[in-house]
Structures are given as structure tokens and as C-alpha cells.
Subunit: 238 residues, 6 copies
């Protein structure tokens, strides 16, 4: 039995609140249970230096946690004077995941920055960020389409969503909350597209190494889970 | 006429959403119109080094803005590697203001950190932070009282609230939003207690210098405004 | 009685030593009693990036303290790797205060940096910096006038001077030295122009909140004090 | 055909030069073709702060590249003033991978730091670092055993080795060099133990998403490759 | 002929103003012509961590330049966020030079920090710092002696003074000012004790390499110059 | 007797391994006994900003130590977030020394960066870096000559080599290893050209001051030693 009483293959309640921010070109407050992440998309009319005059645009992501998003207060990274290794790892992952479904040439010489700020954390902040970040990105492209700057369909190739799976108490489970995450033997994150392709797979043995069989069970859970998330994204933007 | 259609002495709609955060000992999402600030209070069982073995506690504040809380995206301070001068000025002000109504000896060797994170900005983020921060601080002390760690009444001496006033289009107005703030000739922030004492006054001529008469009009507006805010705080914690 | 034996409304001995620095376009060693600040004005033939091609110039300030300007040696900010919050707050105040009497359009696309370095501190370093900084700025404009780069009268609209006032031992006093500053119940800084306008007001309750009546007494002291300082500035540049 | 003329399942020539460093408790210059990494193990008689008095030890890793290890000179991270996101991601991976085969309780309150410094880079620096880092770690434990500080067999539970696989020109290949890495459609890193367990899996779609079938082909290649590397490790320490 | 009209072996006018600072245990404003350096000595009742419980004390130095000490304004190191290489090189030299005449065991577990801050620069700031720093150090030890904390004669073994020499326009000259320094073919700094021993020699060919003969001429100039400086130190403390 | 059994005027075994790096335009692994430094030369087709449009090029150096190059592991400077004072001092020395034999006008608007990374340290890393850096620089110019970008003879004016000498156990010795360096009373580094000119002299009294006679003995040792090193450089490039 899972601490939350959920079934092995049952995700937490997921919701998307679009247009959460008054200023951003696209924004979404995504909730995976008690994990709440505010995703905003900010459009700039210029690319990063290394793409200048290439005709191509860029999508990048930044990630942060409010100091008391967690059970114990964490030192504010701005006060510490640098972003930690975990932060950088996560924001690189979010950026790669979203770029996987964007046609950067069709975007043209523009940059969209997806900021994912964790308001409250209960496990799975990176997967919520990717899944909600896609909504913010979509709404930013819609905003651009409304101003005849682009066509959403030309730039956005597919949905992308992410979910964590892990082996908890000897069982493969989906969408681990903080309690499960802390005790899981194996922890994996999967990023997948609407058409079922894999964009990113990251699996880590926390305790003892895992087998190929175990990994395939997690992958199967993730395939169902991400399809469910994509269906919810479709509903949210309908 | 004010851009928002408000009367000269009319504040924006103010609301307090207590217990916004699952983890913090006290928390409050405070809204002054479109300015939304999440205030959390985090209790630690130790004082800063310079108070060790003094028998006294400490209340401090940190302030941050999400990168897209504003009309244009601002560089994330954690990525820039340091907190800017404006951030430091504001968080020092919030800390001083809240300490003005706390009996640090009665608190004992503990530290409470009030994090004020601006989710959306439309002028007046520092005054909203102080006013909402008081609620988070109150709830943290309540949390401690419930665990027999202290008595709220022994530690918390009074309410504290803050409001901005300014001269806009030649008229003294209260609670400036971003449009007014950008165009104001004079901009002042007032921090006052429930019993009407002044904790902090900061007035700045943005354009031409102002006179004592003008300043007294702003002060009068602020006195009414802060009393109104204190009344709302009382209602919120009732 | 004040520790120094001064009257309640008596400032410390103030002096300005112009042309203290061989290299700077304008410079002044200002002394408010034992508080000694070296102010230099440095002219650059370019504006900061955000004013490029605007036709406007800029006046900015930086502030620093020698490590042993104070009773106990303070860590050197260059060695610590960053300027503290207090330093940033003060240098922002000095810059705003001086810009209040400058016509930036008349200055044209140039930047003048006022460096205020505290050689010895005994309270009131920020007010000495503003008051002495005005002399350095004046001399820099004179230097420019001598080279037909501008006319002082077109760029410099007025004098500006600053003084601290506070409530010490229950009495309103002017120009607090370190001993008074450490024990004051209320501490306020006032920046005013030669024609009596208020540029900046900052009042802080150190102990218990203060009343409007108390604040007005401090303001009255400051009005007299700044007019006296302006008279001394006039004598110094005569 | 691969640019190097290798078979799809053919790794580059791998070698381990033990005791490369005069000072370190364990060291190994590992070469995967033209990728050369110096791995040193440094023993300290204390754990990091969060493990103090826990009876447990720690194994951690740091990673760096000499500025001209690469085709174009990269800015030295020490001069830039911080370690980049890629560096932090890699050193966290190396540390996790090595800890997976260490019994931290058996190690006792000691810390072993594995430094992996890339002398020359041609793709696969992180997999070479893990594989060579294991040798340095083994030799450090041997050094300790020789001084009766521990028994290797009590602390070291298994071998660990890592290899990259990817889809290059439509084909699954093992141990990508820089040319292949730059052009690969999918890039994956696998960390496995001597007994065949998976410690870490990281797969990234560089171009289009990949399928489960493709991923399983990469996994199969990696299983053979890591077993081959483990055999070479055994020979090296024989 | 030298630009200043000085003889080849003629130093600039040197003066020491003792007790320049109200707060420091020892202080001296040293002038070598237009080069003015404020040296303060600050006593702390504890050694640096690596000397704890060793019975030995430490003397260290820090060096800084006011931003407009030079012809062109230099960026403030505190604002830049780090001390430059030149600053670190100079402060290490000052510290080593002063420690050469101190008996650290006799000093006991205390630390004296000599801050050398350049108020105005015209060449030779490091040699003025060492020469004036010795006075500040002496006065700090006198201060301690007056409080029965130590005996000056037990701790201070000798005088130390420093001078620059160089080859300018083909001639060996002493005590180069900025104009000479910028054009010198060879530039050397010598630190010597009252008894004529050499503490530090640093010679650098700016243009073409120099010969042993040339170097010995500079050394001879320096020997006379430092003896003259030591005589002036003796007069200053008489 | 020296700990290594060497004669007073006997250097350690010196070797140069050219073309150590696959990527760099010039490279050399230089060994002075157990001190091993990898020197690489990297060519960039642009000068630093302050030389733009001057027609002149630049040669600069950077220096680093692998964390476990030394007996005890040192903190990685990239992790510490800055280069220490010693590192900066050494890399400035290497750069000055190599520029002394380069005609920067003949080089033209290009920059060559010599990276000196200490793989293993046993005293004398800076002198090995200069001596081996010259080889890397030579090979870089050869590489350019082969591509008709320049002529080696036009740009490179002479050899340059460096050696340390010191007074150890009362005797003048050459090429101190770590044990000698730690115990030396006087430590000096000499940089000289192939034609016998002195480029840089740095002598430091570690214990008691040294005399002119002692210094001249060290200089004589260094003159022989650097000529020997130049002869080895000639052989290496033959």
C-alpha cells in the first residue's frame, strides 16, 4: 500500500490553471497533488548570441524553488550567490524536453524562456515543470499567433509530458510524492511526446541496482501516465 | 482622475489568504490589487551567531521577485549570482518593520524568517510584503503557542502595516499602482503600528523636490490607510 | 545633555577641503566632526547603456568605507566579494540626491561618478557624503566649464545638502555622532535643496514607534541644518 | 560505417594506467581512445558535516576539464568563477555511480574524493571517469587495507563501469567519439555493476524522439560493453 | 634628466603622519611625493585558524586603491566582486615584508592586520605601503606595550623599508614616479631591513632583458635609499 | 647534502614531451623531476579588447593545479569560485616572461594563450611552466608558419627559461624540490633568455634576510642552470 492510499498506477490529481500571470505571454499554475509549480513563458525578440543571424530561435528554461516550498526552509539561491547543481540539472532537462517538440527554425530569431518556480514541493517538481511548461509554451505561441507573429502548428510539433516512476516497497509505482521519493529504491523520470516517443529517460538506483525487467515495468507505467497527462493537456487547451 | 478610476484616498482591494503554504509555520498570500506576494514564516530553533547566549531571538526577512512577476522579464537573481541593491534595501526594510512590534527577549533564542516572494507585481510590493508578512508572523506565533513554545501576546506587541502614498498628476494619492508609481512626482512609503505610531517613513522626490505641506498630506493619507489595513488584519485573524 | 556637549540644534564643525585629489575632475574632503569622507567626481564621455542615444547624461555614486574607518575593523568588501546591503542602500541614496539638482539633458551624453570613501567614521557618513559630494560635483562642472564643455548654471539647478536628526535621550537633536546614533530612539536623514525643497526623507524608529509631532520637530531641525550647510557650501565655492 | 571504422558494437581501445600520481592514495589514467582522464582518490579522515557522528563515510567526485582538452579552448572554470551546469551534472553522476558499490557504513567516518580531470577529450568523458574512477577508488581502499584501516572486500561491494551508446546514422552504436556524439540522434549513458545490475540510465533524444525498441537495443549494447569493461578492470587490478 | 628634475639617486619628498586615524591601534599617512597611502594597524585577540593553539601570532596585510586614486577612474574592486591579481600580489608582498621583522612567537596568539589604502597614486604605492606600514605596526606594538600586552623590543626585530628602482631613459634611477614607471625599461622593488639585509627583491624587464651589471646598480641605489628611509622612520618615531 | 642526493648545482632530470595534446596548436609535457606540467598553446584570431585595431597581438598565460597534484588535496579553484592570489601571481609571471621574447607587433592581431596545468607537483612548478611554456609557444608558431600565417623567426626573439635557486641548510642550491623549498631560508626564481639577459628576478627571505653576496651566488647558479635549460630546449625542438 502507498502512503497516500493510491493505486500503484494512479497519479495524483493533476490540474492546470492557465493565464495565472497577468504579465507573461503564456503562463500556467500546474499542480500534481501538493506539488505546485508556476510556469511562465516570456518572449524576447532576439536569440542568444550563438544563434545570431542563424534564422533559428531558442527555447530555454529556468527553475527555482521558493525557500519555504519545502518541509525545511532552504537557503535562497540568490542569497547564496549561485544556483546549485540540482537546480542547473533540472533546468537543463526542462529546456531540452521542451525544445524536443519545437521547430526552432520555424520559430525564427526569437527566444522563449520558460520559468518554472516551485511554490510548494511534494515530489515530482521537475516532471510537473515540464508538463505545465508545455502549456505555458503553447499559450505563448497562441499569443504570438494572435499577433500574426507565427502559427502555433508550424512551430509546435507535438505535446510533451513527464512523469516519475519508481520502485517503492518492492513495487513499481507512478508519480511518487515526497514520502515515497525519499524511500524509493529506484527513481526514474520519463519525458515523452504525445505520439509516444521517448525524449528523455533518467533512472537512478538509490539503494541496490535495478534490473532490465524492473526498468521496463517503470517504462510501461510512464507510457500510460504520460498519455494520460497529454490527454489532460489537450483538455486544458481546448 | 487616477488611471484605475480610484478616489485619491482609495486603496486597491486588499485580501489575505492564510495558510497558503502546506509546510510553513505561518503563511499568507497577500493581494493589493494585482500585486500578489506570498509571505511565509519559517521558525528555526537558533538565533544568528551575534545573539548566541544572549537570551534574545531574531526576526529577519528575505525578499524576491519571480522573474516574470513584472511586465518585462527580469534576470533571475540566483542566476546573476547576487541580490541587487533594491532587493537588499527592501528586505532590510521588511525586517526592521516587523521587528518593531516584536519583543525579541520574549521570543527567546529562536529565529523567524519571513520570506516575501512576489508572484505578480503591480506597484507596492514592499508595503504588501510588510502588511502580509505580519499575518505570516502572527500565524507562526500561533503555531508556537499551540505547541506551548510561547504566548503570542507576550511576543507580539502590536500590528504593523505599510502603504505607499505619492503625488501623482499634482494630487496626493494612496496605494500607487505601477502606472502611477512610474509617473509619480513624489513617492513615499509609510510603516505604522496599530496604535498609530510611525515605524518607518521614506519619501523620495522623483522629479522636483517636495514641500513640507505636501509631505504632511501624504502622511495623513497613510495614517488612514494603515489603520484600514490593520482593521483588515484583525478581521483576517479573527 | 549630549555626550559631546553640543546644543540640541548644534551641528558638529563642518569643513570642506576642495581639490583634495590631484587626479579627479572635482574632489572634496568633507568633515562633519570626526567623520571624514573623501568625495571625488570622475567624468566619463559616455552614458550608461540604457541612456545611449538619448541625449541625456547620468550622475551616479559609489560609497565605501576603509576597513578601519570604524572602531572595530570591518571586513573589506572587495575581499568579501560583494558590497553589503547597507553600502548599496547608501550609494543609491547619494546618487538620487545629487541627480535631484542636475539637469541630465543639459549635461548631455556624459557620466559623472561621485565616489564617497569614508576615511574615518563617527556617524553621519551618508549625510556628509551627499553634502561634500555636491562640492565635488560642482567642481567637476567648473572643470568642464573651463574647457567649454558645458555651463555650470545650465546643468546644476540648486544646492543639495543632508543632515541626520534623531531623538536621543528623549530630545530631538541634530547631526548625531556615533555614540548618539547607537543609542537614538529614532533616527532620520533629510536631504534638502538650497531653496528648501525636500529631496529625500528617511525616518526609522530604532526602539519604539515615533509620533507625527516628534517627526515634525526633526524636520524643523533639519530645515535649519541644511540651510546652514548650504550657506557653508556657498562660502566654500566662493 | 562509423567514422572511425569501428564495428557498431566495438568500443575504442581502453587502457588503465594505475599509480599515475605520486601523491594520491589511489590513481588511474584511463583512456577510452583519445579521451584521457586522470582519476585520483584522496582520503580524508573526516566525513562531510551532515554525516558527523553517524558512523558512516562518504564517497564524492569532482570533475574538471583542462581548458584545451577540447578542439576549441574553453574558458577555465576557476577563472569564470563557477562550475558550469554540465560539470556539476557530471560530477554528481560520478559520485552517485561509485557510491552504488560502496558500503558507506563499512567505510566508517572517512571521506574519499575522486577527482576526474580530463586531460584530453574525444567524447565519453563521463563514462571513462566512472570506469577509471572505480580503479582509483579500489587502489585507495587497497592503500587503506595495507595500513589496516579497512578491508577492501567489506567496503567495496562490486565493480561499476559505464559506457555511452547512441543512434548514429540510424544505427545503434557503442562508445561514441566526439564526431559521432555531435551527430547522434539519440545519446544514452549506462552505468552498470559487475553483476549486471543497472545503477544509472540516462537517455536523451537529440533530434527526434526515440522508441522503446531503439532504447532496448542501446541497453543491450551497454550490457555487453560494461561487462567487457569490468573484465578489463579485473585484469588491471590483477 | 628625470621628468621631475630629480637627481638619479634622489627620492621624492617622504613624510609620515602618525596617528592619522582616531580608531586604529596604529596608523600612518605616508607620502612618497604625490603617492599617499593610509596605513592602519588593527589588533585582534585571535590568530587565523591554522595557528590556533600554536602559541604564535600573525601579521597580515590588505591593500586597496580608492577608485579615483589614479589618473583614470578604476572600477571599485568591491563592486567588481573580487580583488584583482595585482592587488593580491601586492598585499601578499606587504605581509611577507612586515613578517620578516616580527617575532611571531613573541607576539603570541594575536593577529595584526595592516590595511594599506592608496588615497592618491603616483607610482611606488607598494613601497610606500611597506615603509609606512612599518610605522603603523610599530605604533600598534607601542599601543600594546602601553597596556602591558607586550614589549615592542621583544616582538619587533628590526626596521623594514622598501623602494623602487628602475632603468629610465638608459639610466638607473630611484623611486620612480608614474611617468617614469610607465616608460621604464626595467622596474625593480627592493625590501630591506634596518641592518641592511634583503627581505625581497623583484626585478622585471619591461622592454628588453637587463644584465647583471644593471641589476647591481639598481641594488646599490636601493641600499642607499632604504637606509635613508629607515633613518626617516627613526626620526618619525623618536 | 641535499635530501635527493643531488650536487648543489645539479638540477633534476628535465624532459620535454612535445605534441602531448591532440587538439592544441602547440603543447608540451614538461618534467622537472617529479614536477609535471602540461603546457598547451591555443591560438585565437583576435586580440584582447584593449589592443583592438592596434596591429599588435598578445601572449597570455593561465595556471592551474589539479586538486591532488600535491601531497594533501587542495580545494579545486573552480569549486571555490575564484583563483587564489598565488595562482594569479604565477600566471602573471608566466605571461610576462614569455612576452619578453615575443615581438607582439610581428605577431599581429592574434592571441596565444599558454595554459600551464600542474599534473603533479614537487616544487618549481612556475619555473617548469615557463620553460615548458616556451616549447608550446614555439610549436604554436611553427604550426602558424606551416599555414603561412607568420614566420617563427620574425615573432620569436629568443629562448626563455626559468629556474629556482635558494639557500638550503646554509648552502646555495639550484632547482629546489618540495622538501627543500619548505625548509629553504631564501627562495629565488630567475627567468633568463637564451642570450643571458635577465627577464625577471624574484628573491624572498623565508627566514632571516639575505645578503647581497648570497644573492649573487644564487644568480650565478641560475645563469648556469638557465643556459643548460636553453640547451635542452634547443635539443627538444631540433
Amino acid at each position: 500500500m502507498r502512503p497516500s492510499g493510491r493505486q500503484l498506477n494512479q497519479m495524483r490529481k493533476v490540474s492546470f490553471e492557465r493565464n495565472f500571470s497577468k504579465h507573461a505571454e503564456g503562463s500556467c499554475l500546474v499542480k500534481f497533488g501538493d506539488t505546485h509549480v508556476l510556469c511562465t513563458a516570456s518572449l524576447e525578440e532576439k536569440t542568444p548570441p550563438w544563434l545570431r543571424n542563424s534564422g533559428k530561435g531558442w527555447v530555454t528554461a529556468e527553475y527555482g524553488m521558493l525557500p519555504r516550498a519545502t518541509g525545511d526552509r532552504m537557503k535562497r539561491e540568490a542569497a547564496a550567490g549561485k544556483q546549485g547543481g540540482r537546480t542547473q540539472e533540472i533546468q537543463r532537462l526542462i529546456g531540452r524536453s521542451l525544445r524536443a517538440v519545437i521547430d526552432l527554425e520555424a520559430l525564427g530569431e526569437k527566444q522563449i524562456t520558460i520559468d518554472c518556480d516551485v511554490i510548494q514541493a511534494d515530489g515530482g517538481t521537475r516532471t510537473a515543470s515540464i508538463t505545465g511548461g508545455w502549456i505555458a509554451l503553447y499559450d505563448c505561441l497562441k499569443w504570438m499567433e494572435a499577433r500574426s507573429m507565427t502559427k502555433v502548428d508550424k512551430v509546435l510539433k507535438d505535446h510533451v509530458a513527464a512523469i516519475s516512476c519508481g520502485i517503492f516497497a518492492g513495487q513499481p509505482v507512478i508519480d511518487l510524492d515526497y514520502i515515497e521519493d525519499s524511500a524509493a529504491e529506484t527513481d526514474a523520470n520519463f519525458v515523452m511526446t504525445g505520439s509516444g516517443g521517448i525524449v528523455e529517460v533518467q533512472g537512478t538506483a538509490e539503494g541496490k541496482p535495478f534490473s532490465q525487467e524492473e526498468f521496463l515495468k517503470l517504462l510501461a507505467l510512464a507510457q500510460d501516465g504520460t498519455q494520460e497527462l497529454v490527454a489532460m493537456q489537450k483538455q486544458a487547451i481546448a
